[in-house]
Symmetry: C2
Subunit: 319 residues, 2 copies
Amino acid sequence: MAILVVGSVAFDSIETPHGKVDHCLGGAATHFALAASYFTPVRVIGVVGKDFTAEHEAVMTRRGIDTKGIERSNGLSFHWTGSYSGNMDAAKTLGTDLNVFETFEPKIPDAYKDSEYLFLANIDPVLQARVRSEMPNVRMVCGDTMNYWIADHAANLAKVLRELDVLLINDGEARMLAGESNIVLAAEKVLALGPKTLVVKHGEYGATAFFSDRSFGNAKLSRPFRAPALPLAEVVDPTGAGDSFAGGFVGYIAAHAEDELSDDLLRRAMAYGTAMASFNVQEFGTERVQRLTPEEIAQRVSELQQITTFEDAPIPLRG
Amino acid sequence: MAILVVGSVAFDSIETPHGKVDHCLGGAATHFALAASYFTPVRVIGVVGKDFTAEHEAVMTRRGIDTKGIERSNGLSFHWTGSYSGNMDAAKTLGTDLNVFETFEPKIPDAYKDSEYLFLANIDPVLQARVRSEMPNVRMVCGDTMNYWIADHAANLAKVLRELDVLLINDGEARMLAGESNIVLAAEKVLALGPKTLVVKHGEYGATAFFSDRSFGNAKLSRPFRAPALPLAEVVDPTGAGDSFAGGFVGYIAAHAEDELSDDLLRRAMAYGTAMASFNVQEFGTERVQRLTPEEIAQRVSELQQITTFEDAPIPLRG
């Protein structure tokens, strides 16, 4: 089943302890789409400038991604400049040139209207809400946001949150959105704002899915699910890892549209999200995720299972 | 099989967003011993002052812990003052009064000489090495250390590391000891210094066990094992969680001395360590770990398994 993703298609200039790249293809929608493309058809809505060439577009079309929703505008594409140091747990933003992205007005091509899954990447919540309202028949709406919208556009963001099946954000954003430092209590508060499921991403430590008590497909869940990240000897560039996680997570669910949205399915979706994020960080930009094989992905999910599985066995404890 | 633990028995004055306690019973050896006491007999070597009362001692003896190795000295016991704020990921030390601990000279009672497991809590590596040399017949030696010893007592610490079966430290200590920010590469370097297994504790995110390629009992392991922490709505005081983890981990292994030291056993030990750490943080000091039931511990290990288990199922991916 097709996923429609709305978000940034951008160029990133990134410096990490492993090197430096200038204007590599990036953006939340790009990372999401590439990761999701291994699971299901993906359609992208975004805006780029004249610097977005046929070669850049081919990175997506080679993966079967539908790019007709990417608008070409006069000017330059969104360009982010950032650096990472030490253990690369946080990016330092050195420059954010919104360029053509500043006046982005998502337009949904008619051919996209039958998309059954919608991912609202991190953009102005006003635009997220508009896109969502123009896609009334989607089966599932997932989305992301960031500290800027949480702090200064709370009312607009609140409208989007009420429409979400799954919100995927990081620890800091969850704490900020809830005004609560304990992540379990923060998750409860965020779920009360609307999302049926909250996926909190912990960077190098993995991610946790929190479920509301309300029904969600056929899954009635309350216990969280926690997937640690795969320990990797080469972490070259974390940029986009969260979007690749989301691409794997939503992609996996969309590929199983015929199945019940069960506990098992959501847990596996977390595992596939974890796998896609792990590939994302191993090279700069989208390089690694552009050229995965189904075998590599399956292997990594299997590795996640191997490093987390233990057989419980009752033992006599000394009371 | 009995575990001998050598380390601090102390009083902690702690302030967290959940309240404040003055001179509550703490110290690495105390936290370790209480957690391990649910699995196997524990013997403690430490030093306390006149302020350590029969009531304090009873906290340990009620759990069957042998306290005859706790020396009474003139003066006051080691007293740590610290505070936590926000998500409590790091303690701010406000005061460290070593008192009688400053001149601590561990003496091993004859009755302790047949202990088969040894835990060297975070003390001067010179003392750790001496205790280890006086216990030549132990089956397994585990230990902890901290940034102070890593930075300024490297040569002495190196001698201890060569003697360790398992080193349990946190992320920052592992990175510092290895001089390497990537945790997988750091783990390789630390294992090259001697320990057969390295357990890296990630605070609220759990812990990872890294195994050297050398034989370790009958376990030949290279893939790490990662246990996320249990997401808890009440995190009251993280002080001692690492020592409670170590107590659960070593305690579980010591309780299975008759079994092969297999992959399965070490994974379960990580799970029990995780469970004990999770109880530790739910109340101030040692309060929660003093009064656990075997059922509660088993229940928490089961919860850990439930929140991390997923069934992998091969799916057709789009290559």
